[in-house]
């Protein structure tokens, strides 16, 4: 897999939020404004990149039996650091993100990437994957935040919790439509499959 496809996978073809539908809890909860969405996007990106890189670096050391507790330790430590840093340098953001900042630790995207990719991939590729997946998640989060904030000035529902589900549905539909337009002419096989295995997070989806 080339470096470029590692990045575009996270950003587009395997976008964690729009294709894999991972990390929906924070995605739906803090996407009501662009500001909070951006804040959580950056924090998640930082933790994901840090976790991917450090887990890749220690991968030879971690036996299979203790890999999950070891990964969780790494992710939890990085999340706690991210929380402290946000609290120290942007207190308003810390207050508006509230519980969803520490909850990054339970974002299945991060553990998913650690377990599926970083533990058997060299540091450089893991780093790129973290950047790609993190940016993909973050951009989807910001897009949803922008959509809800803009629509919210017209329809109040967009700001309320149901607006998050409706907005995400619109984004997923838009992603599929655009993807179909872009890809079908040359290569029908690279369409995101409609079978259920598409949402698998471990291993290569073929």
């Amino acid at each position: 897999m080339t470096r470029m496809t590692t990045l575009t996978q996270g950003l587009w073809t395997q976008n964690p939020a729009l294709v894999q539908l991972l990390g929906l809890c924070p995605l739906l909860a803090v996407s009501n404004t662009i500001a909070t969405a951006t804040g959580l996007a950056i924090a998640t990106l930082a933790v994901l990149v840090g976790a991917n890189l450090s887990i890749s670096l220690i991968r030879a050391w971690v036996p299979d039996t203790i890999r999950l507790p070891a990964f969780i330790l790494v992710i939890a430590a990085l999340t706690t650091c991210a929380e402290r840093l946000v609290q120290a340098y942007d207190y308003n953001l810390y207050e508006s993100l509230g519980i969803f900042l520490p909850l990054i630790v339970t974002n299945c995207l991060i553990l998913g990437r650690a377990d599926a990719l970083a533990r058997r991939t060299p540091p450089w590729a893991s780093l790129l994957d973290g950047i790609g997946q993190g940016l993909g998640f973050g951009l989807a989060l910001i897009a949803l935040g922008a959509l809800r904030e803009l629509a919210g000035s017209v329809v109040l529902l967009a700001i309320l919790p149901p607006g998050a589900f409706i907005g995400l549905g619109i984004l997923v539909a838009a992603h599929r439509l655009i993807h179909r337009r872009l890809v079908r002419p040359q290569d029908p096989a690279s369409l995101p499959s409609t079978e259920t295995k598409r949402v698998r997070t471990t291993g290569d989806v073929t």
Partner: protein, 201 residues
């Protein structure tokens, strides 16, 4: 062997967290103080012609305990036309859903509640966080409250037999706040000479 490795990971990651904790301790304390000051300013702007007087410290262990603290606190005088008319008393309600809830209470010398605000809490977003004045005006109902003019049930949440509204799905949070307020106000009311225990800093 695996256990040892896991222990090493635990040690290393804790060391990282510890480093960041020490590094960020000062900026976080400052940010919290700034946020608290802003809350107090906004709260006092709703009370007529009130100003901030001198800072004093409270070290009386018994009174501190009833206000929810185990270490000395700073109490600021409230003034009107240069006369002390009340105090800003920080209180801590210990039994919130996710840890203690810190409040700042503005009381007159009688004592009657002028205003009260939550300064720090970790309550559930969307449920318990309605105690936060930025989320709902629930906390504002306590303005004007005093023990001698308000009956006992005015200091108890509805699920416990009182008249104070709790939130659907989150009774523990408002109960903690109301109980904390009641305890603090009883302490101040039952000991009318409490301001004499304040020490100028």
């Amino acid at each position: 062997m695996n256990a040892l490795k896991l222990a090493i990971f635990g040690f290393l990651t804790s060391a990282l967290v510890g480093l960041v904790y020490v590094w960020t301790a000062e900026p976080i304390a400052k940010a919290q103080q700034d946020a608290r000051d802003a809350t107090i300013r906004a709260m006092l702007s709703e009370v007529d012609e009130i100003g901030l007087g001198i800072e004093t410290s409270l070290t009386d262990a018994r009174l501190l305990e009833q206000l929810g603290w185990s270490t000395p606190i700073v109490i600021r005088a409230l003034t009107r036309n240069d006369a002390v008319v009340g105090y800003l008393v920080p209180i801590r309600a210990p039994s919130g859903y996710s840890g203690p809830i810190d409040l700042i209470l503005a009381v007159t010398t009688e004592p009657r509640i002028l205003a009260v605000r939550v300064t720090t809490h970790r309550e559930t977003p969307g449920l318990g966080d309605a105690i936060d004045h930025r989320k709902s005006d629930w906390i504002q109902q306590f303005a004007g409250y005093a023990l001698d003019t308000h009956a006992a049930e005015d200091w108890i949440v509805r699920p416990d037999g009182g008249v104070i509204d709790a939130f659907t799905g989150a009774t523990i949070t408002p109960r903690a706040v109301v109980n904390g307020l009641r305890r603090a106000m009883s302490a101040l009311t039952n000991d009318p000479s409490w301001p004499s225990k304040l020490e100028v800093r």
